[in-house]
Amino acid sequence: MTLFLEQLLNGVQFGVMLFLMAAGLTLIFGIMGVINLAHGSIYMIGAYAGTFIAAETGSFWLGIPAALAAAALAGVAIEFLVVRRLYGRDHLDQVLATFGLILIFNQAVTMLFGRQPLFVQMPSLLDGSVELLPGLSYPIYRLAIILVGLLVALGLYLLINRTRIGMLVRAGSTNREMVRALGVDVRLLYTLVFGLGALLAGLAGFMAGPILAVQIGMGEQILITTFVVVVIGGVGSIRGAFFASLILGIVDTGLRAYLPGLLRQVMVGPEADALGAGISSMGIYLLMAIVLLIRPKGLFIRNS
């Protein structure tokens, strides 16, 4: 039972990380209609900038504003210099341009920091683990990630549902043309949304630093899973991204943890392990396929 709870927490933690990435991506995709492959690069920029400042100053906490600033700056720069020219173009052009950005950012980071992954010192406050229940101890840092993720989700909920900007964002994701026709400064709105998305990606990147390898190409790894989240949750829906992230995180963790064991009940060891590993790595894509079959626009978008 404690093992199950631990795996559940693991799933939630993974889901929360995915949410921070997916929130920005789904907004950018839903409101501007832009497929931004460079979102993973912003995650990497956040991780590198934050980790570098944390290592130079010796303070993990100073890394946070550095990561956020660098990511938001990079996001706004990308929007202003490249993506702004792509709003009217078709998706293939956007994919090409933002894929080019991935290559440029990877090379730029290689030139600045070298090819060796960076070292991150965990702050002593978050180091170690805490006993939640008898027999269930859990790393404090992972609990902190869950907490930050839930706070961000709450903040986004309030922003989207209670503020004027949020109203425009909601309007923009349902009917872009109408918002423009009503005289809203769409350009500014787009830059803001892009910057906000980048900010969240940078935060995710920095928080991932102490548990992952801060290295070139780290953004591409998480980007694909993030797209799956966006598709399952429904393009443009923050609520969808939130629930889809949690579902995906829990399903992925659960499959990896339990599927080989279950299969071993019905077949011999090595075959069960190989099949289990195979199915669990397909798991999230299978889930996406099923969701697309039943609700082609995603779980949280009403089919019209």
Binding site: Q7, N106, T110, A213, I224, D273
Partner: protein, 385 residues
């Protein structure tokens, strides 16, 4: 008129002389991985190799080193090899880091009548049935990495191991190699994903299985991620870990830091080896480059030394005599003893290393004992040359 003719003749003469000089330089085609997360591996192979060159000469013979990035793509490696063979007339190749690239590229090279000297990848098929007289491996046969880790775990007296590797060929080979020499019981065997960023699910399984020891093979960034999360989950203090050297080199150590203290590693080389060749290499490396030396760099250097020794023996000719000279392995390896087996893969000693706190408080990898003496590979019997 006469003046002009003389000038022309003179310039023609100059052109042919210099042309002949460039023609004389032995071209060495280095195909290696320089981009992406694994780019540092190829970079170390290349830079180690360069330390074996002096003023563009190896063994007194002028050489021209052509380096190209395979991007960890087998198709790209193959294309570069074909271009080098047909357009540049390269007859001597080296550099490939990854077995999947080697598998696609090496057969083309040796079928084209050229030599290939591997500084890293040593896949099993090329060591056995598909071995070739023009194919030499300076590093190791892939399985040896994990066989030595299995033997090390046995030597350390562990009875119950939990083993993990990514779900791809090298990962499966790793677990098979470990099990071949581990005498204890396997408490759990888990295949992870090559793109996995979170190992919490696996760590919980390890904790529940309560093994004596964990063996995991996760190269590069995956390994850093795994070690960090292992330590954060509090497992580092509870369950010791045995690793093969791809999971713990100087670069991994620098990124993981204190989380690595106490980890056992099996290896064929370490920075602290006390032999003249290694001291010379480490001094040259630390002078030339501002980053930790890895075993990739040592293998690049040894490959360079081997080629230099053979070029010196033949005076730069790449014919049958070159092959004979290579087989002699007449060079001082940084790992001490070195010889080729019948399938032209190394027969060498393997060592036990341990990550300890160094004098300045930073973790260092120390050599603490031996694992294998004169260890060859399981495939040489299948090799008919």
């Amino acid at each position: 008129m006469l003046m002009r003719k003389t000038l022309l003749a003179a310039s023609a003469l100059v052109a042919t002389t210099f042309g002949a000089l460039a023609e004389d330089a032995v071209k060495i085609g280095m195909i290696t991985t320089l981009s992406g997360p694994a780019g540092y591996l190829g970079q170390d192979v290349r830079d180690g190799f360069k330390l074996a060159m002096e003023d563009n000469k190896m063994g007194g013979v002028p050489v021209e080193l052509l380096v190209e990035d395979d991007g960890l793509k087998p198709g790209q490696g193959k294309q570069i090899a074909e271009r080098f063979l047909s357009e540049s007339g390269v007859k001597l190749f080296t550099g490939i880091v990854f077995s999947n690239v080697a598998g696609a590229t090496v057969p083309d090279i040796v079928d084209g009548g050229a030599f290939y000297i591997s500084p890293n990848a040593g896949p099993s098929n090329l060591a056995g049935k598909s071995c070739n007289e023009n194919y030499f491996v300076v590093s190791w046969q892939n399985d040896s990495l994990h066989e030595s880790a299995g033997q090390l775990a046995t030597n350390l007296g562990y009875k119950k191991a939990f083993i993990l590797a990514p779900n791809y060929q090298a990962g499966k080979d790793a677990l098979a190699g470990f099990k071949r020499f581990f005498k204890g019981e396997i408490a759990g065997e888990v295949y992870t994903r090559l793109d996995q960023t979170d190992f919490a699910a696996e760590l919980a399984q390890i904790r529940a299985a309560k093994p004596d020891v964990v063996f995991q093979f996760h190269p590069g960034g995956l390994g850093i991620t795994f070690l960090r999360q292992y330590e954060q989950a509090g497992l580092g203090k509870e369950i010791p870990m045995v690793l093969a050297e791809p999971s713990m080199d100087g670069v991994t150590l620098a990124a993981v830091g204190e989380a690595a203290i106490g980890v056992n590693v099996s290896a064929h080389w370490n920075t602290d080896f006390d032999n003249p060749a290694n001291k010379k290499f480490m001094e040259a490396w630390n002078k030339a480059y501002n980053r930790p030396a890895t075993y990739y760099s040592s293998q690049g250097y040894d490959t360079g030394q081997l080629i230099a020794s053979a070029l010196k023996a033949t005076g730069g000719k790449l014919d049958d005599s070159f092959r004979d000279a290579l087989r002699k392995a007449d060079f001082q390896s940084v790992r001490g003893k070195f010889a080729f087996g019948p399938n032209q893969h190394p027969i060498q000693d393997w060592y036990a290393l341990k990550v300890e706190k160094g004098a300045d408080g930073k973790p260092v990898i120390k050599t603490v004992g031996e694992v294998f003496k004169d260890h060859g590979d399981a495939y040489s019997a299948d090799c008919k040359m």
